[in-house]
């Protein structure tokens, strides 16, 4: 059995108190609980404070472009489905510049775990409004207050056909870990949005604010995360923010549909072509 230290590469340099520490911790907890082989894990990160995660977590890491986490992760997963592939994005990375990939990955239901660190701000670029910032949010890019209603990534995901939709909170690291574990075990695309205070660039949404403004879905026994309409109503209700497993359904993943099961991952193909078969194709051009 592995333990948390097996996934700890280096001490993070996020600001003291940053919400991303809790995610880092939860991820290590989950990995240890599932006894995952770090050499079979790939963490793909976006550009932003969240993107540093792959510097600290011990696994194969890919720190690519702003907003392009999911196409990269999909390319990896489809080429070698045996890998546990995690994507980590920020709210800007996932819901602004990367939004289209997000929706299309959900639609395809590619077997990825996607962690969206939502700090309601562009942190690394020193504080601009993000798609999850609230109406009226004052920042360097909206000095007179944002005029846009925030985007609810989970609601979008539900509409796009997402099959595992959850929300965690950095203030509740162990609950977050268990959500991540469920997400990793889910067959298909698992979205876990992580409410994660940015103590430096966003004073508005503090731990205290979140503590007062979130509620746990698991406390509500009447809530059924398998009911699409129920989920929709919750996500539209306004008021406090639901945290926990919001929706889950089972539907074949993209890999199941496009990758012939019997064969090995395509990265292990023998690349030498079968001559007679190939020459047969050439006949078509005679």
């Amino acid at each position: 059995m592995r333990n948390k230290r097996d996934y700890h590469l280096e001490a993070p340099t996020w600001c003291p108190g940053c919400g991303i520490f809790a995610l880092f911790d939860a991820l290590k907890t989950t990995a240890a609980a599932m006894d995952l082989d770090p050499e079979h894990m790939v963490v793909v990160t976006g550009i932003g404070c969240h993107g540093r995660l792959s510097n600290y977590f011990k696994a194969y890491g890919f720190h690519g472009l702003h907003g392009r986490v999911l196409p990269v992760a999909a390319g990896i997963k489809l080429s070698n489905p045996g890998l546990q592939v995690l994507g980590v994005s920020g709210d800007g990375d996932a819901y602004s510049i990367g939004l289209s990939h997000f929706i299309h990955a959900l639609r395809k239901n590619i077997n990825l775990t996607y962690l969206v660190v939502d700090n309601r701000v562009y942190a690394l670029t020193l504080g601009q409004t993000s798609p999850t910032s609230s109406l009226g949010f004052v920042s360097k890019s909206t000095p007179y207050g944002s005029k846009e209603v925030p985007l609810d990534g989970i609601r979008m995901a539900l509409a796009a056909g997402g099959t595992f939709l959850a929300r965690g909170f950095s203030g509740q690291s162990s609950r977050l870990a268990s959500l991540i574990e469920r997400g990793m075990k889910h067959k298909g695309f698992a979205l876990i949005e992580v409410l994660s205070p940015c103590v430096t660039q966003n004073k508005l949404y503090s731990y205290e604010w979140y503590k007062e403004n979130v509620y746990l879905l698991e406390d509500d026994s009447s809530y059924d995360p398998r009911d699409r309409n129920h989920a929709w109503e919750r996500l539209n209700a306004g008021g406090k923010i639901p945290v926990g497993l919001i929706y889950e359904e089972s539907r074949p993943s993209y890999e199941e549909l496009v990758l012939p099961k019997k064969e090995k991952p395509l990265v292990f193909n023998d690349l030498k072509i079968d001559m007679p078969k190939f020459e047969n194709y050439l006949q078509k051009f005679r």
Partner: protein, 579 residues
């Protein structure tokens, strides 16, 4: 005896011009002739003028002729449009209503025939669509082609998808076309083409050759977004890759396509994407990531007429600069530019080897001209194909390494590569500047070393990449330089010049980057005058030469930028005038 003939089929988009032309091309090829087609189609589904020329020759040909010998027109406007292109002795068939007025003008040695394709189709087969097969009647008749070959091609065309009955009907229609042709065509109008041995040859387009090369070269992951004129590459692979445990995926856009290919490549697949101008612009960011993170990537770029949406179905050499200099920052890149269909296949195979060997992006830069047109080629030599994966580590190799460094500072600049799932290979791939292990590092000394390491890779590459090829007389004083599709018209222009007593030689650039500056310098120095022939406005190749090679020779320019490929005379005439 006739040894070169060009048939132009013209009408409106939606008239089935492509179908008629493709069948004719196949028949000509099976008759043992060398074939080159040229399409000039509108970027529209319907209604606008379109034309397609099918040329057959006893010599090897690589492009269109100066003149057309036979015109099959689906309407009268086409005749007005193309009349000036018809060679003396030419024959014109027209399905137009108003053909009466179309008599030869003074000095024009053309014969006109009214040929009611639609009427014949409707009256005899109840449907206009048969006009396209009927049209083949006069064409095969006038060329005196072997009926058994015609039958064979038509059977192949329809049998699988439509069944025997349709084959029978179409052969009947073609026969009718020939019969009607016999009534109007006089024997002196005929361009009899003697049958020759078909031999081990293929008839295919550059796009198809690249797709075949990709499969043969080990590509097993292909992600792309549709765009003319590159879509044919992956449409072929979409059918065939899955048969090799490979995957073809249509992404939501080009940003996803290039990033997905990078993900797959990082994971260990030979991965590719294909695109054209606007899509390539969207791939610039991923291009740079490939260079920085040293992830092998192959991009097949089929150039079309730009800028912006431009003329999507027409040809140009307007995107050399985009790959030579495009994207932000500085990183190694390899740009291969095939000039023939054979080279499309060969370079496509090679691209994957180079991408893995140098762990950098490799661009296969072609043009609509030969990407979508058909040419005859000798059967590819598959025995030559080798898969070389460079410094990709196997598990045992990796286990022998004490402290694996993905971006190790090595003498040749290429570092060992491990793929996820391997033991002992954990590392980061990073788009930020990084240290030898891939972790972000902003230290100035490390930065300098990393830049040097990355840029060093191509120092070695430049010696072994595909060198330029010299055609013609090495000792000739007139030099021509070109790349890609201009090969065909340049070679014919050289023949034309030769006939006028002007000896010339031609340097075909085949790797645009790293640039073969030594070979080009030598060529320049051994020439009295050098003409750079380019299918663009600003002379991108010439600019490249000027920036890379110092020599006393002043380059002369022959540029065309109408969206159409050169005809040989458009090259030979200015050279003749200038020398």
């Amino acid at each position: 005896m006739i040894n070169d003939v060009s048939v132009l089929i013209a009408g409106k988009a939606g008239d089935g011009v492509l179908f008629t032309g493709n069948v004719l091309a196949k028949i000509l090829k099976r008759s043992g002739w060398e074939v080159a087609t040229y399409r000039d189609f509108p970027s529209n589904i319907r209604g606008e003028p379109t034309n397609y020329s099918i040329r057959a020759s006893l010599k090897r040909i690589y492009g269109r002729a100066d003149k057309e010998n036979i015109l099959m027109a689906f309407d009268c406007e086409s005749i007005l449009k193309h009349r000036k292109r018809i060679a003396p002795g030419g024959v014109v068939f027209c399905d137009g209503q108003d053909v009466a007025g179309l008599a030869p003008r003074k000095g024009e040695k053309i014969t006109f025939h009214k040929f009611p394709l639609r009427k014949l189709a409707k009256e005899n087969f109840g449907h206009e669509i048969f006009k396209n097969i009927i049209a083949l009647g006069p064409l095969t008749y006038i060329l005196n082609l072997d009926f058994s070959i015609i039958k064979e091609v038509i059977s192949e065309t329809f049998l699988e998808k439509k069944g025997k009955e349709i084959v029978r009907k179409n052969i009947k229609a073609l026969f009718l076309g020939m019969k009607e042709a016999k009534k109007v065509i006089r024997s002196e109008e005929c361009h009899t083409l003697p049958k020759r041995k078909n031999g081990a040859r293929l008839l295919l387009s550059g796009d198809e050759a690249i797709a075949l090369g990709a499969l043969a070269g080990g590509c097993r992951f292909f992600a792309a977004y549709p765009i003319c004129p590159a879509t044919e590459i992956w449409q072929w692979l979409a059918i065939h890759l899955p048969r090799y445990n490979g995957l073809v995926i249509q992404t939501e856009d080009e940003l996803a396509a290039v990033n997905m290919a990078l993900g797959a490549s990082y994971a260990g697949a030979r991965a590719m994407t294909s695109t054209s101008g606007p899509g390539a612009s969207l791939m610039m960011e991923g291009f740079s990531l490939s260079g920085m993170a040293e992830i092998p990537l192959v991009v097949a770029h089929v150039q079309r007429t730009g800028p912006s949406t431009g003329i999507p179905t027409k040809t140009e050499q307007g995107d050399l600069n985009q790959w030579l200099y495009g994207s932000h920052g500085e990183f190694p890149r390899i740009i291969l530019a095939p000039g023939t269909i054979e080279e499309c296949f060969e370079f496509s195979v090679k691209a994957f080897n180079l991408a893995e060997k140098y762990q950098c992006p490799v661009i296969l830069l072609t043009e609509q001209d030969y990407a979508q047109n058909l040419r005859t080629v000798k059967m590819f030599d598959l025995s030559k194909i080798k898969i070389e994966r460079g410094k990709l580590l196997s598990q045992p190799e990796l286990l022998r390494i004490k402290d694996f460094k993905r971006y190790e500072f090595t003498a040749d600049g290429v570092s060992p590569r491990a793929i996820p799932s391997l033991k002992n290979g954990i590392h980061m791939v990073e788009g930020n500047e990084h240290d030898e292990k891939g972790y972000r590092n902003e230290d100035p000394e490390n930065r300098i070393k990393m830049m040097k390491k990355r840029m060093r890779k191509l120092k070695k590459a430049s010696q072994e990449l595909i060198p330029p090829k010299i055609w013609g007389k090495k000792e000739a004083e007139i030099g021509i330089i070109g790349v890609g599709s201009t090969l065909g018209p340049i070679r014919e222009a050289m023949d034309q010049l030769e006939k006028k007593g002007i000896h010339s030689k031609f340097l075909q650039i085949r790797t645009l980057w790293p640039f073969a500056h030594r070979a080009v310098k030598r060529f320049l120095e051994k020439s009295r005058e050098v003409f750079v022939v380019e299918n663009n406005f600003t002379g991108q190749l010439s600019n490249l030469i000027q920036s890379q090679v110092e020599s006393g020779v002043r380059l002369k320019h022959i540029n065309k930028y109408s969206g159409r490929a050169f005809r040989p005379k458009e090259i030979s005439t200015p050279i003749q005038k200038a020398v």
